[in-house]
């Protein structure tokens, strides 16, 4: 075998977590290779030209969860990453109402008070409560999830850290925390607010990317998952990567290469090479083989285990557990190249609302019914969308005067139900168009001329996202964020510390703790575990910052 083909570590998949893990491995001195099936790196965070002159992020579209500690430690700004916080949010209702959000706390209060005076103070209280939960959870993001069945000092130590933090918050807040973490976002909002539009404007974060409805217990945690990021220390703020989300992965890629890493794109994984229950390398679809004693898979746990390793090489119970792991396609995308700025006649003219995100959902019931459609294998008749006009933030994304619009759509099923048959194959040009029409109908509630503005539209179903990016069912989190799949349960109880039953094979993507979103924490945590297991733990920087 050619010596060139042998490495210390191979990372499969150049998504943000694979890249992050690879950066840390390379920086620790491991000769590291990344293999990527697509021609470009980035996974679900890629910037490409959708239509002549219109640049967009293929899947992920905003940036907040990306751990600031990692950005700083890997010097990503040096490699071109620039995160601009974005402002505002508008929620429209079917009844011709809207609710905007403003930066200034007092203006924001006035705006809530405009439609519902009693909800003004309630908003402050709600936000305090959510932020309190964020403060609690953030230190865990860059730590290992303890194995509660283990008596190893590391696990006991992590468990004690968890117990101590719970103890520290005091009995009253322990109770509040238990409730928050187990409640549905619908019940939680019902407790806090009276006005339906106020509730609806906040509920979206509780369901984005999940196969749960606003009244499913556990969705308050999902909301938290969207709030626990920050931009420049401002907790809960969201940012936009200049040059679209590909800027994140491009910077990671550049950081990796500057640390001496090698990236090979254009051929996907055929299988992991496993000998005597040890991983030995990877075989690619184009026939190339690379050898390494450490292989880190950025693919989700189902793809990693069920598609690229022979069943006979794995304990049957583990395979069953992976099969049970829930990765549910529930969201689609609509990207639009617009000839010019569409009109939003409901909005007053006294401000620039367009650097934030937009949605249109009248009430919690609208959202819950959207979920009911999905349960039956249909896209929502009135889908929830999170809509941005990235070119309003970064004017270089579309030709001058024109605009790029990006919508994240919830819910769209993976296995579409057509005449009682549920299958991903039911997604075709016809169903995609019908799906897009349902979304356009909703956009028209706030933006009546949207159809006239469209030069080019790209609709993507969960099945399309799976095909293009490789995420099972197109799920943005590589696995549902329910309790049975969080912390020491993620992805598989007993294998929550990035390892697999195959010696040397690790899972480093969002299927692992702490989960999805462009956070990069799983990648960094996994690198820490890999290095520790290979006697190089001291080469991993301590990332978690002291919380004040």
């Amino acid at each position: 075998m050619d010596k060139q083909d042998s490495y210390d570590a191979i990372v499969v998949g150049a998504g943000h977590n694979g890249l992050t893990a690879a950066c840390y491995l390379a920086k620790a001195g491991l000769k590291t290779l990344i293999v990527e099936k697509n021609e470009q790196i980035g996974g679900a965070a890629v910037s490409t030209e959708m239509y002549k002159g219109w640049i967009y992020s293929n899947c992920s579209y905003v940036c907040s969860l990306l751990r600031q500690e990692i950005i700083r430690d890997l010097e990503l700004p040096k490699f071109g990453l620039q995160v601009v916080p974005y402002r505002g949010r508008v929620t429209f209702s079917d009844k011709g109402e809207y609710l905007a959000s403003y930066d200034d706390a007092h203006v924001k209060r006035r705006e809530v008070g405009r439609i519902s005076p009693i909800d003004v103070d309630a908003y402050d209280r709600y936000y305090q409560l959510v932020m309190r939960q964020c403060r609690f959870i953030r230190p865990f993001l860059l730590r290992r999830a303890p194995d509660p069945t283990s008596m190893k000092p590391r696990d006991v130590g992590e468990l004690m850290f968890l117990i101590k933090r719970i103890y520290d918050i005091g009995p009253r807040d322990v109770g509040e925390m238990i409730r928050f973490w187990t409640m549905s976002i619908g019940d939680f909002l019902d407790e806090h607010f009276e006005h339906e539009l106020v509730k609806a404007s906040m509920a979206g974060s509780g369901i984005i990317g999940t196969g749960l409805g606003v009244y499913s217990p556990g969705t308050a945690y999902v909301l938290l998952h969207h709030y626990m990021g920050d931009v420049d220390g401002s907790m809960g703020a969201w940012g936009f990567a200049r040059g679209a989300m590909g800027a994140v992965t491009k910077a990671l890629g550049a950081a990796f290469e500057s640390a001496g890493g090698v990236i090979k794109t254009g051929s996907g994984l055929s299988e992991f090479i496993i000998e005597n229950e040890k991983v030995r390398g990877v075989a690619l679809e184009n026939g190339d083989e690379y050898r390494a004693p450490i292989v880190a898979s950025n693919l989700d746990v189902k793809r990693t285990i069920l598609k690229h390793i022979g069943r006979e090489k794995l304990p049957p119970e583990y395979v069953r557990a992976v099969e049970r792991f829930k990765i549910r396609g529930s969201s689609g995308k609509l990207n639009l190249a617009l000839d010019k700025m569409p009109s939003f006649p409901l909005l007053p003219e006294n401000g620039d609302y367009f650097t934030g995100d937009f949605s249109c959902n009248t009430s919690l019931e609208t959202l819950e019914r959207a979920y009911d459609d999905w349960k039956e294998g249909r896209w929502s008749a009135k889908p929830y969308f999170d809509m941005l006009i990235p070119s309003k933030i970064d004017p270089t994304l579309a030709p001058p005067g024109s605009h790029m619009m990006s919508l994240f759509i919830q819910y769209a099923p993976y296995d579409l139900n057509v005449n009682g048959v549920r299958s991903a194959d039911n997604w075709n040009d016809e169903t995609r168009k019908a799906f897009a029409d349902a979304v356009f109908d909703r956009i028209e509630v706030c933006c009546p001329d949207i159809r006239q503005r469209v030069l080019h539209a790209e609709v993507r179903s969960p099945a399309d996202i799976e095909r293009e990016v490789g995420l099972t069912e197109g799920n943005i989190f590589q696995g549902e964020l329910t309790f049975d799949q969080l912390l020491f349960n993620r992805p598989i109880p007993g294998y929550a510390q990035y390892s697999t039953p195959i010696d040397g094979l690790y899972i480093v993507g969002s299927s692992t703790h702490p989960g999805g979103g462009v956070m990069a924490a799983p990648g960094a945590n996994a690198a820490r575990e890999i290095l520790r297991r290979n006697g190089k733990g001291d080469l991993m920087p301590a990332l978690a910052e002291e919380e004040i």
Binding site: Y167, G175, I178, R179, P217, R324, G494
Partner: protein, 518 residues
């Protein structure tokens, strides 16, 4: 302090089985107890009435499956309850009903069910975990305020014991428990079973009484709760009223006085401590403690919101108790005849929940306040075992919303009756012509008759965010209800509802332990 010369140490509001369990527990400790019941009959949700001359039937609850053996033993009820274990029949519209009788899972015709083993594996695993949690039901919830003090350590003991038992189960079970305890029954069942009557059984048993569908996280826990004392359904002779009667007899034997037709107007309070109670008739009865088996909001209002901190009032107002269960009793003209079932099988616990998705779909409609096209039903024909020639069906009809759009009136009740008969007739076509009379109790009727909030039999939804230290609400989970000497003793308190007696008994013990009556 109980006034000198006052006749009672404790007044208990409500003669439901929890109020009676509390009364008996206190009476046995030598406390003088008075139980007030606003209706003419004792029992609360566990009462019987004659649907026809000499034919008693359970008015609301009709099966006992969660009677706590410790409570039974402490109250000396062991030999005094005449109850018959029932097999469960999962009805199927193709008449291929499935019989679940303990460890025997088969089609009603006796042939083996291909998924029987897989079903048992899931059910028995949940039962095993349920047994692990069961001791928690007999303790006050841990006091998170106990901190690191010695008393605090004592409070953490049950949890520590649970953790230890978990570990002793071995890594595999412990991991499995931690994975599934907060998850949903739908996925758990369908991961290992095809959707059909057996999955339907798990789904239905996880959601009776609940404002939740099988897909809602937390439903595995509610099934564990049901299985806490084994979960075997028992049919009391003479209806549930007989069970409440046994509790009442135990209370009286322990010296408690029970007055019916008297309700509490307000709890009397001086210097932040209970001094007694004023009845609706204006009579003032002094006592050192008052226990309420009413719901959390009603109990608060009996004392007066001014005695509760603002945060507590808010939490109590936010307790969710959206009732979802109706009761329909059907007097039959003649003996029932259900295709595919023997007479013995017909005497079992008949469940209309043919698949898990069926159960979920019923919830999907009901959660918006709509009557579902096809509800889930648990029916028994208690008269079959008695050998008489008059028969009646007692049916719990689930996913009938308390907050029905348009409200509950005679027309809505008629729709409920029709829906129940239509649903049962899918498996029992002959039923339509066999109906002599129907007594339908909507959740609103149940609320009116029993004062159960929302007609909800757990008084407060049995969801994870309303359990243990946050049941009924955060900071008030240990039965003591804000004012010194005022206690909650009903289903809204830990551990929750079902005819179990644990809440009343625990509350009484906590009262004694708190030294209020000293």
């Amino acid at each position: 302090m109980a006034g000198e010369g006052s006749k009672f140490d404790v007044v208990i509001i409500g003669a439901g089985h929890n109020g009676l369990a509390a009364a008996a527990t206190l009476g046995k400790k030598g406390k003088r107890v008075l139980v007030l019941e606003r209706s003419g009959a004792i029992g609360g949700l566990a009462t019987s009435y004659e649907i026809s001359d000499g034919l008693p039937i359970s008015r609301h609850a009709h099966l006992a499956y969660n009677l706590n053996p410790t409570v039974i033993a402490e109250l000396g009820l062991s030999g005094k309850l005449s109850m018959r274990p029932l097999a469960t029949i999962m009805l199927s519209d193709d008449a291929r009903h499935v019989e679940i009788d303990g460890e025997t899972i088969r089609f009603a015709d006796g042939s083996a069910h291909p998924d029987g083993e897989a079903y048992k594996e899931i059910r028995n695993r949940i039962k095993k975990f349920a047994g692990l949690l069961a001791p928690l039901a007999l303790r006050s919830p841990p006091d998170p305020g106990g901190g690191l003090s010695l008393a605090g350590a004592g409070e953490a003991m049950p949890l520590a014991a649970l953790a230890l038992k978990l570990r002793l189960m071995g890594k595999k079970d412990m991991r499995d428990f931690l994975r599934i305890v907060l998850s949903n029954i739908y996925d758990l069942a369908l991961d290992d079973l095809p959707d059909g009557p057996l999955a339907g059984n798990l789904a239905a048993d996880a959601v009776w009484g609940a404002w939740a569908g099988p897909r809602s996280p937390g439903t595995v826990f509610s099934l564990m709760y049901r299985y806490g004392c084994g979960g075997a359904p028992l049919l009391p002779q003479g209806g549930m009223g007989a069970v409440a009667g046994a509790f009442a007899a135990a209370a009286r034997q322990a010296g408690a006085e029970i007055r019916t037709g008297v309700s509490a107007r307000r709890v009397l309070i001086a210097n932040d401590a209970v001094t007694g109670i004023e009845t609706d008739k204006g009579e003032k009865i002094s006592a050192g403690a008052v226990m309420s088996s009413a719901g959390a909001v009603q109990s608060m209002m009996l004392a007066g919101a001014e005695h509760f901190d603002v945060e507590a009032v808010r939490r109590i107002r936010n307790v969710r108790s959206k009732g979802m269960t109706a009761k329909v009793n059907i007097l039959l003209k003649r003996a029932p005849d259900i295709p595919g079932l023997s007479k013995e099988q017909m005497a079992g616990r008949l469940i209309a929940a043919p698949t898990a998705i069926y159960v979920e779909r019923a919830f999907t409609q009901a959660k918006y306040g709509e009557m579902p096209a096809a509800p889930i039903i648990e029916a028994v024909i208690p008269t079959l075992a008695d050998g008489g020639d008059r028969h009646a069906v007692s049916a719990i009809v689930h996913y009938i919303p308390r907050n029905l759009k348009g409200g509950w009136d005679d027309a809505a009740r008629a729709r409920l009756t029709g829906l129940t008969i239509d649903t049962l007739a899918r498996y029992w076509p002959d039923l339509r012509d066999n109906v002599e009379r129907v007594d339908a109790f909507s959740p609103a009727d149940i609320e009116n008759e029993t004062a159960a909030p929302g007609g909800h039999w757990h008084h407060a939804e049995l969801s994870i965010d309303q359990l243990l230290t946050v049941r009924p609400v955060n900071q008030l989970s240990r039965y003591a209800f804000a004012v010194r000497g005022f206690y909650l003793c009903g289903a809204s308190a830990h551990p929750g509802g079902d005819v179990s007696g644990a809440a009343g008994r625990n509350s009484a013990l906590q009262l004694l332990n708190d030294g209020v009556l000293a």
